[in-house]
């Protein structure tokens, strides 16, 4: 009888513990679900694309104490895109850890504007130079209406930037980023010049060549028809925003409120 009562008490305790766990999950999980990294406020992406982007953003942020946000809104009216993004960041309590570290790319589809802002540790990890590189790759996709492609590019570049910072202890900046262009410049151009000179020298060694023309034996061409008739005009427009002058010093510039990033633009 005593044993039976003891078993009943144990069962009740277990049920109460499970119920407490369940309540905790019910209270905590909605909070976690309410802080997505890809914040599609206008329903731009379908479910599959959204899930894919969200997982990529979580993977990029993971372990770096710096959240990677991609914010999509329709119209920001007359508001400055940078002010809009900063207000959104603050009002929604975004950022990782006590320092609220993060990077946010704002895409205002209806207003055709964009901006990148950084805060906390994000200011250090993402230099002005790197943000300009990222926007150079992202904005052409926005111009083409490739919203998902733009988001993927942003998340991939942010991921690489945070990994680089974690591995090297310094951010990607103007003075340490060799990159493909830098390598091409430093190695490719000298190699091309040397190859060109060697080719000239090599041709001096091989002078026996069959002729393909007979210029020496033709005094001149007597033209009897010369007609040039205008037919039509075509026009092409290519998106190519003027480049802002880079600051040669590198690093990250910040506002008085601690936010870094770009001043944004239109696409």
């Amino acid at each position: 009888m005593k044993n039976r009562m003891c078993k009943t008490n144990c069962y009740k305790k277990c049920c109460a513990f499970l119920a407490a766990l369940l309540m905790l999950a019910v209270l905590v999980l909605p909070g976690m679900a309410a802080a997505p990294l890809v914040r599609d406020e206008m329903g731009l992406f379908d479910a599959d694309t959204y899930n894919e982007l969200e997982q990529s953003a979580e993977a990029a942020s993971s372990g770096h104490d710096c959240d990677v946000y991609f914010l999509v809104v329709n119209d920001i009216g007359d508001a400055n895109q940078r002010d809009f993004a900063k207000n959104y960041y603050v009002n929604n309590g975004l950022g990782s850890g006590e320092g609220k570290s993060g990077i946010l790319f704002l895409l205002a589809v209806g207003s055709r504007k964009y901006v990148t802002i950084t805060y906390g540790g994000g200011v250090t990890a993402f230099t002005d130079y790197r943000i300009e590189q990222m926007e150079d790759d992202i904005v052409p996709k926005l111009s083409d209406g490739d919203w998902a492609g733009a988001a993927r590019t942003y998340i991939e570049m942010a991921d690489y930037t945070l990994d680089y910072y974690a591995e090297h202890g310094e951010p990607i900046d103007v003075d340490n980023d060799l990159g493909a262009e830098g390598l091409l410049f430093v190695i490719g151009i000298p190699a091309a010049i040397a190859a060109g000179v060697c080719l000239v020298f090599y041709h001096q060694m091989k002078t026996a060549k069959e002729k393909t023309e007979a210029d020496d034996y033709m005094p001149g061409l007597k033209l009897r028809v010369k007609r040039d008739v205008y037919t039509h005009t075509t026009q092409t427009r290519v998106y190519d925003p003027p480049k802002e002058e880079k600051s040669s010093g590198g690093g990250s510039s910040t506002d008085s409120d601690g936010f870094g990033g770009s001043s944004g633009g239109s696409f």
Binding site: D175, N176, L178, G182, F185, V186, I187, I189, P190, A191, I193, A194, A195, V197, C198, F201, Y202, Q204, M205, K206, T207, A208, K209, E210, K211, T212, E213, A214, D215, D216, Y217, M218, P219, G220, L221, K222, L223, R224, V225, K226, R227, D228, V229, Y230, T231, H232, T233, T234, Q235, T236, R237, V238, Y239, D240, P241, P242, G265, S266, F267
Partner: protein, 357 residues
């Protein structure tokens, strides 16, 4: 085909005459007499006939088998009596036994007789000097090549050429574009004006040369062009003594495609050069017709120099009139690597310091 070799002999001392490229006269090295070409030709006409007759009457010696004889010609030096065996396309040669310059009149007569000849203007010494000069400034030439190789064989050769006179008729239709770009905000706007362009014309080609000897490398013969046709002369065997002369073994029909291709390319380029003022020109249609008016058979002067190094043969050709010398030289891979590294590495260091230093 006659197989008698005939000498031009000095009317004064009967010594061998040779053609002096510097003076354009026939010279006797024994008594120092000099003769105009036409003068000796006139004196020699009867002797040539007698020599041909003697050759026909000569008893047969040992004979070549049919297969062996197929590509060979037997000739006799009238000076020392040596029998010269050459391949069938060689028309004049120097007797290897007595050194006499000899001429086989019959080989270049009749159907095979050239219409023109450009006499040699530069001698053997100039050819060797030009070859040594040619080596200078060649960065990839192995050092040992200059030191170890020497000219093994040098021959002045009258190379058979076909010289084509032709008229080219050319018509072309093109699309011309004039492009202008300007900036409108974040966009670069490009306006392109399109034009229909038509051109037609004709061009005369005068004596486009193509060598008619399969033994001569085409690349070598092309590369020593051009010849100065102002010095061209009606053919005479009097220019041949002292030089080897080939007869053609590729006729004017066989050589014609090479000449036609060259004339087409030149005409096409000339037609396109008349189209200007456009940023881009696209060809819609082109039609070029080459009408060959005449093909002249001519002998042109070439010094052939042969060297051997590291068991490889190197052949050089020099225009016997202008002195232009060409030929492929050996390349030292170590020198290529050294030059490549010597240029590229310092540049890489300088650029790296400039960008990231």
């Amino acid at each position: 085909m006659p197989n008698e070799t005939t000498n031009y002999q000095c009317p004064a001392c009967t010594g061998p005459l040779r053609f002096d490229s510097a003076t354009g006269k026939l010279v006797c090295d024994y008594c120092g007499s000099t003769y105009e070409v036409k003068e000796v030709e006139a004196l020699y006409a009867d002797k040539q006939k007698a020599s041909d007759t003697a050759a026909r009457q000569r008893p047969q010696g040992p004979v070549w088998g049919e297969e062996e004889a197929a590509g060979l010609t037997s000739r006799t030096c009238s000076s020392c009596g040596a029998e010269l065996v050459c391949d069938g396309t060689t028309a004049a040669t120097t007797c290897p036994y007595c050194g006499n310059p000899t001429v086989l009149g019959g080989q270049l007569s009749g159907k095979l007789k050239p219409e023109y000849i450009i006499p040699f203007k530069l001698d053997r010494k100039a050819a060797v000097q030009n070859l040594n000069k040619y080596y200078k400034g060649k960065k990839f030439l192995p050092k040992a090549f200059k030191e170890q190789n020497h000219v093994e064989e040098i021959q002045g050769v009258y190379v058979p050429f076909w010289l084509y006179d032709a008229t080219a008729d050319a018509r072309g239709a093109y699309e011309g574009e004039v492009t202008e770009s300007h900036r409108e905000g974040n966009y670069v706007v490009t306006n392109t004006q399109h034009y229909n362009v038509a051109r037609a014309g004709e061009a005369d080609f005068i004596k486009v040369p193509v060598d008619g000897s399969s033994k001569m490398p085409d690349a070598h013969m092309d590369a020593i062009e051009p010849f100065d046709y102002s010095a061209i002369q009606p053919f005479s065997t009097a220019y041949l003594p002292g030089f080897l002369a080939d007869r053609y073994d590729e006729d004017e029909e066989k050589c014609l495609p090479r000449a036609t291709r060259r004339m087409e390319n030149t005409t096409r380029a000339a037609l396109r050069e008349t189209i200007d003022g456009y940023s881009e020109v696209h060809t819609k249609a082109e039609n070029i017709n080459i009408d060959i008016r005449k093909a002249h058979y001519a002998l042109l002067p070439v010094w052939m120099l042969h060297t051997r190094w590291n068991d490889k043969d190197f052949l050089f050709a020099m225009n016997g009139q202008t002195g232009k010398l060409i030929g492929d030289l050996p390349v030292d891979p170590k020198r290529v690597a050294a030059w490549f590294a010597g240029i590229s590495l310092p540049l890489m260091v300088i650029l790296a310091l400039f960008l990231y230093g």
